[in-house]
């Protein structure tokens, strides 16, 4: 039986509780694989986990230099499960989640968004395994920004696709997976110059996404203020921000508490899933 953890959107069961908002200055970077999971063998001497970490570290430094905070799923060769990666990201409520992978087959960068069908209706709770469905529209917006940057800044020919690659389906943030393949001329994904070009483009894309999100929030606040002025105080001054509908990340409120259980000896953020909450299994 599939285990379901539950995350409660702010408009649902958790509406009465304090609802933390999106951290607009934070980007979650997930270097794929690590530790006992080497990923693909890119060559006799290189394994995917190391190349992923190199690219993610480079990107982290560049994003930090631009004033963005970065949360990494791993900074070394640790084993981190998909559940732990999603848990870290969902706790932090980042503006964007970027998953980094590399491969020795194919050509150029592949930009992937979850293969889940977009969920547009209001749900009382998000099933852990398909939580990304409510964010697919935003993820496609982020994908578009990244593709533009890879095309115009890095002068590459990205290919977009939809696929379910753990932990992307469990992320409650606009999430894009980048898989870097060699480019013509035998330039491998581990090539430093190639990685620098890609990191430059990704940095520009994420900064643009950040700016776009802040603009959308400012506009939404102004609109909410204008709507509130004739009947001041009618909503208790909470100032809820509506979805801008512009493709920028909407400030969703998600409470992942039921899924969290502190692992023995583990970091607080790296929580393992608790026993299934069972609400969504009630149909069985």
């Amino acid at each position: 039986m599939a285990a379901f953890g539950l995350m409660l959107p702010g408009g649902g069961l958790a509406a009465q509780q304090t609802t933390p908002s999106v951290n607009y200055n934070l980007v979650f970077l997930d270097a794929g694989h690590g530790g006992s999971d080497p990923g693909a063998h890119l060559s006799d001497k290189e394994v995917e986990k190391d190349v992923n970490l190199t690219l993610a570290s480079k990107l982290k430094g560049m994003l930090s230099a631009k004033g963005l905070s970065v949360l990494s799923s791993r900074d070394g060769d640790q084993t981190v499960t998909s559940e732990q990666r999603a848990d870290m990201a969902n706790h932090a409520r980042p503006l964007a989640c970027l998953l980094v992978h590399t491969t020795s087959s194919g050509a150029g960068p592949y930009v992937t968004v979850s293969g889940l069908a977009p969920e547009t209706g209001a749900l009382p709770a998000l099933p852990w395994e398909t939580a990304q469905a409510s964010y697919v529209t935003e993820s496609l917006g982020l994908e578009s920004v990244i593709v533009d940057a890879l095309t115009n800044v890095a002068k590459l020919k990205p290919v977009v696709l939809r696929a379910s690659v753990p932990p992307i389906d469990s992320l409650t943030c606009p999430a894009v997976l980048l898989e870097l393949a060699p480019i013509s001329g035998g330039t491998a994904a581990s090539d430093a110059d190639y990685q620098q070009r890609v990191a430059d483009a990704l940095t520009q894309a994420l900064v643009a996404w950040h700016t776009q999100a802040l603009d959308a929030v400012a506009k939404a606040k102004a609109a909410a203020l204008a709507a509130k002025t004739p009947q001041a105080g009618s909503d208790g001054g909470k100032g809820a921000i509506p979805n801008s509908g512009t493709g920028a990340p909407k400030p969703r409120v998600v409470k992942p508490a039921p899924r969290v259980a502190a692992p023995p000896g583990g970091a607080a953020r790296m929580a393992l899933p608790a026993e299934p909450a069972g609400l969504l299994e009630a149909g069985g």
């Binding site: 599939a2 379901f4 469905a133 696929a163 690659v165 389906d169």
Partner: protein, 228 residues
């Protein structure tokens, strides 16, 4: 009287012969294990004379990351599960052929395919007319009368599959599209490896979720160079 040195030499040679014999037997044993490990232990069904029929295979291509529906003439059994297994074996056999656009290792790939018909829809009202494409549990996602295909892959196939987001996604899309064309009544497809759930095919593409059975040939991956 045989000299002592000749006796020593004789018994030394006999000892060497015995050691070589043991070494040979051990080598044969290991080779036999290696060969039978790759073999398909599934009992063969009795051959049935069936006519060739036209089937649609959704063929993947790594070069342009596309899925192309292709018509082929294949002899298939009538029984749906055997039919699905034979069809998928044929599809994956094409990928193992030299010059394949989506090269995979040769060897048995499909252990079995189960096609289940739901008699009730426990996850929703009886008149639900559309399965939830995101639902992880097939039995909750499909509606009454709908079919769920469970593809049980060989562990060796998954272990030897090339690792990568695109290459794994293409394999799954190819299987899903081909099954959808052959068995249009199937609404969802799930994957097992050696009868057990497994997180990913080869480190990337998820095998835990239920995939909606759709025509993947009509929803190919999008190369931006062609789109723009």
């Amino acid at each position: 009287m045989i000299p002592r040195y000749q006796r020593v030499l004789f018994w030394s040679l006999v000892g060497c012969i015995l050691l070589m014999l043991l070494f040979l037997l051990r080598g044969c044993e290991q080779a036999h294990k290696r060969l039978t490990g790759k073999g398909d232990p599934t009992p063969l069904t009795a051959p049935i004379a069936t006519a060739l029929e036209t089937v649609t295979l959704d063929l993947a291509s790594d070069g342009d990351t596309s899925i192309t529906p292709t018509q082929r003439q294949v002899a298939l059994p009538e029984e749906p599960t055997l039919r699905a297994r034979a069809l998928l074996e044929h599809l994956l056999g094409l990928y193992a052929a030299p010059g394949s656009a989506h090269p995979l290792e040769s060897g048995p790939a499909i252990d079995s395919v189960f096609v289940l018909t739901l008699t009730m829809a426990p996850g929703g009202p009886p008149d639900a007319n559309r399965p939830d494409p995101n639902h992880l549990d097939s039995f909750f996602g499909s509606h009454a009368g709908g079919q769920v295909a469970i593809v049980n892959l060989h562990g060796g196939f998954a272990d030897q599959h090339p690792s990568g987001v695109v290459v794994e996604a293409l394999t799954l899309q190819s299987i899903i599209g081909t099954l959808h064309a052959a068995l249009p009544g199937v609404e969802e497809i799930r994957f097992l490896v050696d009868g057990r759930t497994r997180e990913t095919l080869a480190g990337h593409a998820s095998l835990l979720r239920a995939y909606p059975a759709v025509d993947t040939g009509n929803r190919p991956l999008v190369p931006l160079s062609d789109e723009k």
